[in-house]
Symmetry: D3
Subunit: 321 residues, 6 copies
């Protein structure tokens, strides 16, 4: 075989520094073997959004943003250099049959979680509609689920007006009997972003709702601890559903439904670190980033940073993880 | 008359959910009858700006952003579903005669406030030059005015160098004898954004000035309470003049004169809520948003949110409002 | 009823000149009566696109661009001042059931064309998938259709891989027996924009294909005359399906599938004028403009100009139109 | 005096090549002496525009774009290295008194042309409203004017509806008795961009109008020759008023009133070259470029190129110029 | 090994149609074996540009744009489905030592062309500085070179003022004795884009220069035939150096040095097709596309189309190629 | 000499208000005399950046942003109206020899600081590579330097992999024996933005490192006081090296290496004020702003504001400064 000086393959990094490994390099395509630790799967579905959304591009953009970060945490003095985040790739979506696309998400994630019991799967949306299948698959493979949903919105809309969309995932889970309301805690619900009818629905079904006002008064960490305690009493494992629009528009300018009055990014990061280390947490999704609307991929970059912080604190868990 | 399935008129919402009403739907065009409660009027004038400004587009953009929000406040557990915000439309501006445009703002607003004594008019600029006429009309119909001006700038420039512009409204009001300086409280005045000559003018005329430093030290709410107490001693009603550039550039990227060192949006919202509930407050304008400079209409969206929060707390006032 | 000076309703033009009427003002919402002449209907569907598309926004943007033009043609010395273009509004799309959305397009357009025999309906896409239903409805109400398709692409893809999408409308029409291939003439088909399999399909089904090379050699007008002659022999009426990506990327920068080597806008306008005057032409759609990708709405503005030129020459037709 | 190695003053070119002089370096600020040859003056007025316009920025942007070009014409094998284009700077505009701004343009240009009889002044708008004063000043100092106006629009609107705006300059000149209609030739007038009322006005006043159709049929050069012949019979000197929106939107994307169906840039350049060499031409303005709307300053760059081609061919004139 | 339904690997196409193969799929990473036919190599160097340039990103962007096209030419009725364009990847650049980066380009390309005698290498810049090394390597491996340079600029600047930059490649080749001027034909040289000093240099060294005026008068194809005839008399093989700024700014908006008065894309494509089929042509580079400045990757998309047309006509060559 | 009414020279402010002087007007080009007080020098080098950077444009943009501010501080009730900030202009960079460019920065700054002992030079980058030369020059003219580096990154990379880049300045200073590690304090170092190898290097060399976590726990002011105390024990003067990416992406969107988890702008401003007044501080650079990536020049505007606050507090220093 011939060699040629200075050539690097298309797609490889244009410059390498011996002392820096990119977080993106931790991503290793799944090769068919059993997987442990953190793994990601893309669910590039956003035609299910009520408003126009390019969130289907987020899995690819978040992966790229992983290349903005290195593997070293100075705060923890921990280097994830030898770590691996398995990349299962993306679930293939149907062009026109959106129900089938949602079914594929459920099927693929169920198979992945069934085969890879030791893996903590982070599903990258797509819009929030992907969580319905993701959570159903999670519960069927990992036991009774307790959900911590970060969101400005309930996502409890009726499914008759527009079908199963990014406004309905938690309604679907309840209506279809997958979960009951007490398995769900919602954090960051905001003024003028929801309907009273759906707040009533949340109450009627025993969903726990913490508003932005609650967070400002009590602190996110306090509410997270309270939520995990509560959920642990009736569920086996906790699943985080992170809709990035829980953040204020100044910190997550790339969500379709941005607005003022939301969380700042530092608080969210602190919350994710705490959840990352908590042994009850066994699944997560990150949804509602539309790279076509973002500024300099800020929101995807924050998502990549959250994946790294979560993985870092996950690696600090003791024992059975 | 014939009917055709699935048709909706041009301009109507492409999707409706039975459980959600858009804040924008609260806006009802004025039909010639007497008006109560909150009402909006557009004053689309920005050729009067010292620098290039597309603020004349803000009334239309803010109305559109009202469609980003619903009618339900979860923090107050109050639904404004059946509420109405009367929309008087926009005041027609002259293409080239800017003095006439300013006169039209005064005339129209005076007529509106004279005819509709029970209405709280929110005037949507346009640039800050619109406040001169708006406040004059307010005082002539509602009694001696006390003004709470949120602004990084005094807006007390001389009117000889460039005529009555967005840098001069409060100077005009004082020079023309409409108000005396003790009727005016300025909040959020910022370093390197004003001239000493005009600070001297403020002092000489008894204007109360709170800088950003004052706000950081004492808190916006404290200063607002102090301001309202003070103004109530000598005036009949309070008028809020909200120049969005009082905010830091990270939170209001769409103002012509953005800069660092300003207010954060949460503090402003809290202040507006308090003012909304205060029975002395009887008028407001929101100015200096240029939609052509904004990112994803963030600043207009914040203005729409402020209108909703103000209206919500306004509806909580007891008695005569 | 009270009046207030200088007020104009929200949405009305900020300035009016007595000597100029905007083309956009010719658009009159349908009021339930019988319609003659040119009419438009929006088919805001683009979730059916293979690639991400905001083409669903085009009907609204094209209407806005009608306000960029006046009613007067100096070339023809004809003023359409008193003309009317009926606006049937938009067909409401389902959020998640795309097949139902396509059915609604068919149903609504069939009903419109059935009720309004004297009207020439211009359907505004949306992506090219809307043409399948539009043409079926046209034929069922107006007799055997001859289609002149301007396009860089065949749109004859198989429907098994992704369902009925913007790559399949003419395949659907043939497969479903709505038309046979000899009812279809394709103009502007381009290199490296199609598959051989589908060229074979076109040939096997008797579709007439003129490439960009053919247009450059023979001239668009020549080929249009030849096409209309040919189609008139076996069909009753001609329908124009105008995919704006038949144009070169320099002239239609807002199509999802832009590319070099296409038509220039002057040639297309000339062709549309000729077709507008031709009494055989009885229907048209304009598709594949994505306003979120465009520069200064150039492509929608061109579409609006095409509607005006078509309407102008339509009004010159003699006799029964 | 001390020296420091490698320093260059703020604003100087970061790199200099001994073999290349920038066209921008030909611009020499006026120093109070008598001027010959080509000179530029900025008239940064666009608040007079009917629609929002940043055309006031064009003089500065066109000057910057002069730095994109060198001084050497390979086609003519002529180097303008030692040439000078005098830069009179910009006329200062009033912030709010637009009539005064227009008067200042007239006064300044009259004084310049009166003092500098040997200079050919190119006035850089701004919007087209600047031409009214510019042409009046031209005629009062240079004798009876013949005008060649490149434009998609008549600019003959009535001045009652909105005052003297960018839609009225030639109407003002006729109404105020400065010119009669036979002194004016309009080239490039376009469909659906004008009102019949104003076409009638043009005809009634003896204005010569060549449409885009005329240009396509007869060729721009032919019409220019015909126009100059005609104007020379009754006027002393010819003035070019170049509204860049005479060009198609693909070639001049930065004009406020862009549209399809216009001139291509090569034809315009050829026309300008011919006019540059014609000894009758003694004045020019270039208007209606809004740098805030342009793509990569394409339209201002073209304007700079036109100034260079005009100056090059001007330098080829024999005798009295 | 386990399998999971619907998964596709990161980076794979989200949708596949059985009848369409993307041109991008023709690109096969080099695997160390001998290569025939067309091959590409990226030379991602643009720190050598006189002005700020992101042209180093073009190789990756052009590859992506290959995915905008299919493999089928309808004009030639030829499908390149089974074809291969070998992708040698990118040559690794040094961060700060630009001379070393240029040397690496030379070394890598020399090795590639030496090893792969049957391959026609298309080097993707990068800026035009990459051509100096590319052409030297070409001549040393393929025999005496005749160069056809498409460019608005001579690129014959002195190397003393700024070193070997994107303004100097052909000067370097002559000064270093690699070529003599008669081996070089320049097409598309433009007014006000060059210095007289360098035109003199071209003449003194026997370089053949065809200006845009020459192309407009004689036609590009005529000049190309004349050029190839001339070069064939004294050289062994022809190398095309395609600086995309030979095109008019309307057709190549993404070149750093855009301007009016250039070639249209159709003419260039026609020229490339003719050169692609000409058996003398044995090498090519495509340079000066800055994806950060482009609109919708139009210029990179055109480059990808040119690669496809060149490859198509290359495949039509008879005999030894 | 002739005069002409209303003319202002190209580049002068279009509007002047008698009561406001722009901060930008404080900038006076150096005229060859001795300089005292604050002075700026541009070091427009960013080809040395590891990633693509337009930071070379920042000196010019920051100067422009100085025109966004006035000279009056209301918080200090101090007007800098009669102050002067000397502008030494920019150091001329070589097009291709980046080492020479770095040497020029060192030479020019050494000469400036040697000639002007009473001046506090603020060097405007450019990328962080400019600090190596700037600090070496500072120490050679002002005595043993103590460095306070605000940065998300160590900038202690090895220089073998890519030469002296924006990732290596402090490594270069240590390796070349210019400083020892105890002369350097780093503030704001962030997770996943650095390599462990370089943290080890910092520790091994006695560099003081405060992370973002440290700042959040202890407060920036506390750490600054501690740092200055420590540095004063072994050094003569303190130099601030301000990499703007120490800020969170929400507050400095225009840095090449933006990310979440950084400092907010108010804290930084407060720190800079304290340092400005501290008599030990004798030099500063501001680096890593890329105006081509910024939104509305927010980051350059903040840099200009920082220069003003620093200069204001600098003017409050007592005695020898
Ligand atoms: Ca959600
Ligand atoms: Ca949400
Ligand atoms: Ca103000
Ligand atoms: Ca203000
Ligand atoms: Ca199509
Ligand atoms: Ca198409
Ligand atoms: Ca005009
Ligand atoms: Ca015009
Ligand atoms: Ca070149
Ligand atoms: Ca070139
Ligand atoms: Ca740094
Ligand atoms: Ca840094």
């Amino acid at each position: 075989m011939q060699t040629i000086p200075f050539l690097r393959k298309t797609g490889e990094a244009p410059f390498t520094d011996r002392g820096i490994k990119k977080a993106g390099q931790l991503l290793k395509p799944w090769t068919g073997e059993g997987v442990k630790g953190v793994a990601i799967t893309g669910a590039p579905l956003s035609k299910t959004s009520i408003s126009h959304s390019g969130a289907f591009m987020a899995p690819q953009t978040i992966r790229q943003m992983m290349h903005s970060f290195s593997t070293y945490s100075i705060e923890q003095e921990t280097d994830m250099w030898d770590g691996v985040i398995t990349d299962f790739g993306d679930i293939e979506m149907h062009v026109t049959d959106l129900i089938q696309s949602q079914n594929r998400i459920y099927s693929a994630l169920k198979e992945i979680q069934s085969q890879h019991n030791g893996a903590l799967i982070i599903t990258l949306g797509g819009d929030h509609s992907v969580s319905a299948g993701a959570i159903k698959a999670f519960q069927e493979t990992r036991g009774r689920v307790g959900i911590i949903q970060f969101d400005a919105h309930f996502d409890l809309r009726n499914t008759e007006d527009g079908g199963p969309s990014n406004g309905t995932p938690f309604r679907q889970l309840i209506e279809n009997g997958v979960i009951s309301g007490d398995q769900l805690v919602q954090l960051g619900i905001r003024d003028f972003s929801n309907g009273k009818l759906y707040h009533d629905y949340a109450k009627d079904n025993g969903v726990t709702v913490y508003t932005m006002g609650d967070i400002k008064r009590e602190g996110l960490l306090t509410l997270l601890k309270k939520s995990v305690e509560q959920l642990k009493q009736t569920t086996d494992n906790i699943y985080i559903s992170l809709d990035m629009d829980v953040l204020d528009q100044a910190f997550a300018p790339g969500c379709p439904a941005i607005g003022p009055g939301g969380l700042d990014s530092d608080s969210l990061i602190e919350g994710i670190q705490w959840l990352g280390e908590n042994p009850s947490v066994k699944g997560m999704d990150i949804v509602e980033i539309d790279p076509t609307l973002d500024f300099r991929n800020m929101t995807s970059r924050l998502a990549a940073y959250i994946i790294m912080q979560f993985s870092l604190f996950y690696s600090k868990r003791e024992g059975g993880k």
